[in-house]
Amino acid sequence: MNSPLDLYPIAEKAPEAAVSASGMPLERLTLDAVVSGQVGPAEIRISAEVLRLQANIARAAGRDRLALNLERAAELVDVPQDIILETYEMMRPGRLTDPSLLSERAEMLRRDYGAHAIAALIEEAVAVYGRRNLFRRRY
């Protein structure tokens, strides 16, 4: 049974797996392609598949916590930039006084983007913030 480690670095060992979120293979991401307008911001976005592959590689290398982080990242690939930035803000201390807003955001991410691990992370935060009185205005 081959280890996922055999595929690393995938740019060298498994380039066919290196495909952007929009479906563009790495080898087609050339200067000519950029100049001729075939490459936009969507073409230089990492895909959830690649993140999960890198997570498996990390796990095979004994780095299980990094693997979980990369899997959470995979869940965020399809989440738009403004929602990511807004969610980050909501998780910072002193931004919300109502915990239910954060719980709802977790549920939305789970429901609309399948971001289960992310949702669990946020819900864990809601519980701890409540216990530690972090749902209070700081400015």
Partner: protein, 755 residues
């Protein structure tokens, strides 16, 4: 009875740079404790129903935000019982044992609480910690990171300095701004500058967390580093985050294919006023367990902003190394501090970097100031633009790879101009600014922003705002570079964007070398003792040791021997020298190469002038000079003694081509001279004149005041011995063992030149 006078040495010590450093007493209550405080908990952990319900003496109901996250996500339940039961001394021994593999120790760390980790490393000396670090660090090939900033946030200078940083060999470049709103301009300028040259250099823009993420999403940066975590809850909250928000942020970066590492470090909590009376290492251990728990691939630690404060404490440098060790022991990439000027003493600065040079590190400096101290917007780093060559010398001294390569002056001129033209072309192409040629020339030549004629801060703010508001991305810059003929730079910038597709550089300790990702996965540190681990290749060692201005024998001879082939010899041999009978005679014995192959002293005095000074001095003292060529020795003492024994008075002077001289007497043992002039580099013509005068006075039976050639404490050996050794070999090469001395006549002013 008068009281003892004050010793003036203390006045001199008071005026040294060291005196500006502050040294703090140990005071745990005030947060000034390195490895241990009475308020640090003893290590402990309790598991119930598959959950950690107690960490380091604290129960679940009282877990703060760090405890809760560490309990939930760091401690590996498969290992915790075994690891927490281990004797710290035994684990410490394993850390320095070359036969215990890194993987075995990393597994144990997964089951250790912060206090347990501290209990192990606090048993280790500075040497043991350094050695353990060389074994436990993650990636085999060492690397280095540069600060590229300036006081004006001037994009032209940023581009030029980024290109120089790349040429120096830095694997990463970090910028930050004097004015926060200039972040987009800084990012664009550094991204372009870092694309000049070999490519593959990672780049980050250190700014407020959300803004940094936005800039990353626009493609300008390849990694984020200052994802800060703190060791106490109140400090964390004042830092405007929680472990959960930071874990989310880390995942957000990865979701856009951007590498990230966190930042922590001793004394951050002390500076922020929330240390909870616990030791700085214990608080940092909490940060590091947290970072592993978050799943970030690496850390920047080792004091960082808290380094000067930590180093004010006794054992502070040992603590900083200990926290780097805990980081790599937990399996994290480590950008190991050395990024703050922890002292005004250059000696303390050089001492601090040395263990890291010897051990190697993923990034030896998490910010080497590649620019002048005053241009470092992070505040001066440990090393800065002023000391780059000192760092290069240390690499050469210890045969250690600090990640940098010596640069040559000629290469830098073209490089800087090229980078400046590239950013100017991009600004013009994107309608952001037009750059006058005069500005480009001024920045290319400038060592720092105080010398430049360039953008004003207001103009930079306007450019930065335009980049942000128009939504310009790195792809726009790639296109602009290509359109304006900077295809190579466009390719290099694209290379960094392509990394986001494969994600290979998201793994632990990843950098790019020769366009390929190397990381802890495909370049693991496999150090197991002598002959293993990282060794510089022959080519690499050749590059490292080729510092500027290397002295070669050919170069020394060409510089030091200003021989005019058209000149007639000025010292003409006249048969074998005989013993003289004049009681006032002083014989001057010249070495084999004196005046022929060697024509000036190491002080730069022409040997004709030296001989004239000696002979005039002898006459002034009432003596009669006689010149003699000695061929059987080049040693000063034997030259002098031979001359003295030929002399009618029994007094003689021996002098080498490099200027070292001696007054001798016929009845003395060879090295028991009358007066010795051993510091030729600081011996003047006046000294030679006085030497002749004294010799003549001795011949007349008088006892003149010996001549003292003052030395001002210069390191004469360091300054001169390389040249001297090469020049002296010329003299010794001409020695003919049994050749008798020859009489000489001086014949100057008859054709040719003396210089």
């Amino acid at each position: 009875m008068t009281s003892a006078p004050r010793w003036r040495r203390f006045d001199e010590w008071d005026s040294r740079p060291l005196r500006r450093d502050q040294f703090a007493v140990e005071d745990s209550e005030a947060g000034f404790a390195t490895f241990h405080s009475p308020w640090d908990p003893a290590p402990s952990a309790q598991v119930e129903n598959g959950r950690v319900v107690e960490i380091d003496g604290k129960l679940e109901a009282e877990f703060d935000i760090l405890d809760a996250f560490i309990a939930a996500h760091h401690l590996d339940l498969d290992v915790i019982d075994e690891a927490m039961a281990m004797d710290p001394a035994e684990v410490a021994r394993m850390l320095v044992d070359i036969n215990v593999p890194r993987e075995r120790l990393e597994r144990l760390a997964r089951g250790m609480t912060p206090a347990k980790l501290v209990s192990v490393v606090s048993m280790m000396s500075s040497l043991e910690i350094t050695f353990a670090y060389s074994k436990m660090r993650q990636r085999r090939t060492p690397g280095n990171q540069a600060h590229v900033t300036n006081a004006k946030d001037d994009p032209l200078q940023l581009a030029a300095d980024a290109a120089v940083a790349v040429a120096l060999g830095f694997d990463e470049v970090e910028t930050t701004m004097r004015v926060a709103s200039n972040s987009w301009a800084n990012a664009m300028a550094c991204a372009v500058g870092a694309a000049v040259g070999r490519g593959g250099v990672l780049f980050q823009c250190s700014i407020e967390e959300a803004e940094e993420l936005r800039i990353g999403m626009a493609g300008f940066t390849s990694y984020a580093e200052t994802v800060s975590v703190y060791g106490t809850e109140p400090a964390f909250v004042d830092g405007d985050d929680t472990p959960w928000s930071k874990a989310f942020l880390t995942a957000a970066y990865a979701s856009r294919g951007i590498k990230a590492r966190c930042t922590s470090g001793a004394s951050a909590e002390l500076l922020m006023g929330f240390h909870e009376r616990q030791s700085v290492l214990y608080l940092e251990a909490r940060c590091l367990c947290l970072q592993r728990a978050m799943g970030v691939q690496g850390t920047q630690n080792g004091g960082i902003d808290g380094a000067p404060l930590t180093v004010s404490m006794a054992g502070g440098m040992r603590e900083l190394m200990a926290e780097n060790l805990i980081a790599v022991w937990l399996g994290l990439e480590c950008a190991s501090g050395n990024d703050t000027r922890i002292s005004e003493s250059e000696i303390r600065v050089g001492a601090k970097i040395t263990p890291y040079l010897l051990a190697g590190s993923d990034l030896i400096c998490s910010g080497f100031g590649s620019i002048r101290k005053y241009d470092n917007t992070f505040n001066p780093s440990l090393f800065n633009g002023e000391d780059i060559e000192d760092f290069l010398a240390l690499q050469r001294d210890f045969e250690a790879d600090g990640g940098l390569t010596p640069i040559q002056e000629g290469d830098m001129r073209e490089l800087r101009m090229h980078a400046i033209r590239a950013i100017a072309a991009v600004f013009d192409e994107l309608g952001l600014a037009k750059v006058p040629e005069a500005w480009m020339l001024s920045v290319a030549a400038a060592s720092g922003s105080q010398e430049t004629e360039s953008f004003s801060p207001g103009e930079v703010a306007r450019i930065s705002g335009a980049i942000r508001d128009r939504g310009l991305t790195a792809l726009d810059v790639v296109r602009a570079l290509e359109r304006r003929g900077f295809a190579k730079e466009a390719e290099n910038l694209l290379m960094m964007l392509r990394q986001r597709i494969s994600g290979d550089y998201l793994q632990t300790s990843a950098i790019l070398r020769d366009g390929k990702v190397i990381s802890a996965l495909n370049d693991p540190n496999d150090y197991r003792g002598p002959g293993s681990g990282y060794r510089m290749s022959d080519a690499r060692w050749q590059a490292v040791r080729s510092v500027r201005d290397l002295q070669t024998r050919a170069g020394v001879l060409e510089r030091e021997r200003r021989v005019d082939p058209t000149a007639a010899p000025w010292l003409v041999p006249k048969g074998e020298a005989q013993k003289g009978s004049d009681p006032h005679e002083v014989v001057v014995g010249l070495s084999p190469a004196f005046g022929n192959e060697l024509t000036q002293t190491t002080a730069g005095h022409d040997l004709i002038d030296v001989v004239l000074a000696l002979t005039e001095g002898i006459r002034e003292g009432g003596g009669v000079p006689r010149l003699v060529r000695i061929r059987h020795t080049a040693d000063t003492s034997f030259l002098g003694l031979t001359a003295a024994r030929l002399s009618g008075s029994g007094y003689g002077i021996g002098i080498q081509g490099k200027g070292t001289a001696v007054i001798h007497r016929a009845d003395r043992l060879p090295h028991m001279n009358i007066e010795l002039f051993s510091n030729a580099p600081v011996t003047t013509l006046e000294h030679y004149r006085a030497m002749g005068r004294n010799a003549a006075l001795y011949a007349r039976g008088q006892t003149p005041e010996p001549i003292i050639v003052p030395v001002d404490g210069q390191a004469l050996g360091a300054r001169h011995h390389v040249r001297i050794a090469m020049l002296y070999a010329i003299e010794t090469g001409l020695v003919i063992a049994d050749a008798p001395p020859l009489g000489l006549a001086m014949s100057i002013g008859q054709g040719g030149t003396s210089a």
